[in-house]
Symmetry: C2
């Protein structure tokens, strides 16, 4: 299997710790011909790996690529459906826009749109989302559940749980979820989620779920206006993140949780969500389109709606809001 050779080759070179490995050594180690090794080295170079080759010494890896490629996402992807149909771009206006178009044209469930850069990335309520080239995961995903439109907000929570779990798995960091669609590390935003839908009046045609993960941003890559409020996995971990691995892990987790949801409903997702929830039990200010509610966040309902108890003991059900933690 040529994918296996590639993976073993990358591992062997990465493990060599700066030493040269000869073509013969690599061929024996992996169990293939020297010609195969040579071919794969060339392939890796094309994909942006920087490899030094010295006669009579062999190969040394200088740098793994900062770039993300479609192959990087596919190699090692453990899902059945999610991410199996990839639309990959170097730069787009917004992956949501592309994914909406694909959804209209009938793209299958699990289709993802990934771009190295978004020129006009969007967040909730038409807000802009900064998407610097090669720094993050800028991705949209098409999901086609047979459900009425009012179930759509639950997918923001399923996506948040999958993203939080994937970040934990890949980095060892401890992400927290601020209802409904922010993921924070050490109190700063690292992920944004945007769930949009196309539907008939009573039936979802497709969900287009956008996810932005600040991965390899350094502090100076974050716009002044969001420093102090935003962070990246690199800033928190001080180690570069493999965005391909992050996407693969997220897709695997999302596919799993989505399966659970279709099978057993929202209740098990709610339990998972609560393990990450930062806002529950705290005094919050919820800004909705109709006004502000200040109170203690009691939790979410079995439908994913936030319950907030105000100072008079009145319990409000909040379907959508920006949340600010007060304590």
């Amino acid at each position: 299997m040529s994918i296996d050779i590639r993976k073993q080759l990358i591992k062997a070179l990465s493990d060599a710790d700066g030493e040269f490995l000869s073509g013969q050594t690599l061929a024996e180690k992996i169990g293939c011909s020297r010609t195969a090794i040579w071919k794969h080295i060339e392939e890796l170079r094309k994909d942006g790996f920087i490899l030094e080759a010295v006669r009579n010494k062999g190969y040394k890896i200088i740098n793994t690529p900062e770039d993300l490629t479609e192959s990087d996402i596919l190699f090692g992807l453990e899902t059945e459906r999610f991410g199996r149909n990839i639309h990959f771009y170097e730069s787009v206006e917004s992956t949501q826009k592309v994914a909406h178009q694909l959804a209209h044209e009938g793209a299958p469930e699990g289709t993802i749109v990934v771009s190295e850069e978004q020129r006009t990335g969007r967040g909730r309520l038409g807000r802009s989302w900064s998407s610097l080239p090669k720094k993050g995961v800028w991705m949209s995903m098409i999901v086609r559940p047979v459900l009425p439109p009012q179930k759509a907000p639950q997918f923001t929570l399923i996506t948040a749980v999958a993203a939080a779990n994937a970040i934990g798995e890949v980095t060892g960091l401890h992400p927290e979820i601020k209802w409904p669609n922010d993921i924070l590390i050490n109190g700063k935003k690292v992920v944004g989620i945007l769930t949009e839908l196309q539907a008939e009046a009573d039936k979802i045609s497709s969900l287009v779920i956008g996810i932005g993960i600040n991965a390899n941003h350094d502090v100076e890559d974050l716009h002044e206006s969001i420093q102090g409020k935003a962070t990246s996995l690199y800033i928190e971990k001080r180690k570069k993140i493999s965005r391909a691995q992050l996407i693969q892990t997220f897709l695997k987790d999302f596919e799993k949780y989505y399966g659970i949801y279709l099978d057993k409903g929202f209740a098990p997702i709610k339990l998972l969500w609560e393990t990450y929830a930062i806002s529950i039990g705290k005094v919050i200010t919820a800004r909705t389109v109709t006004g502000e509610i200040v109170g203690r966040a009691l939790g979410i309902t079995d439908e994913g709606v936030l319950k907030v108890e105000d100072e008079h003991g009145t319990i409000h059900e909040v379907y959508s809001a920006d949340i600010e933690l007060s304590d």
Copy 2:
């Protein structure tokens, strides 16, 4: 006012009952110059009116156009916003498709897409909708209420009430509404409505409401497979319908009911809807995606949901179904 001259001119010529009217007579009758009459006659010809002109006798109208033009819709339109932005086509795949694209690009509320023909017109659940050239009203409309997605089905009912009312106004016929989206005359379908939406998880971005009205079809224009189930306004009335007037009246009614809905909620719409409802009190079979319910239709809730009481006395709330009347 030149629009007034045009309208008066059409009326005078139509009322002349096959007699010639001289330019002088027309100018005096309408109160404008003979030059103005001449100019307007030329305009009418461009718009498809067939007019005979004989020296020393004057003008006679041979035929009013079967065609619909953008000007026909605008002249005499009494709305504030609906239909003020018209995208008019001779032929499109589907007006819904065009309207979705326009909605994505930010087209304002009230934008309508009208086409003389749809090559692949669509109904609910991806069903096809026959849209013969120049025979019907094939139209989609962009509405942008600030509401959560679960309110979308109510717009099917608002649209149905507006369409039923407009048909009554223009033709004197008595349309009835079969929940949720069919309008019947003498038990046969004459209008279909398709409500689709683009939304964030908890907020509608735009509703794209499609409406198809069989207007001037003769019996042989209806496909064999739907003869007996479908009809047209012409078949029922034995008189050609002005599609422009029908569109104008529908837009005026829709704008009015939409205003009432935004102001006072669904309750007043429910009352209007009930005056047209054919299925209420009858035994029906409701086919939903999950199965079949047979029972007596009790009415709709304040949210627009159909209540059906089965033989065991259990009351089902039906959000979406195909309805068949059993008695």
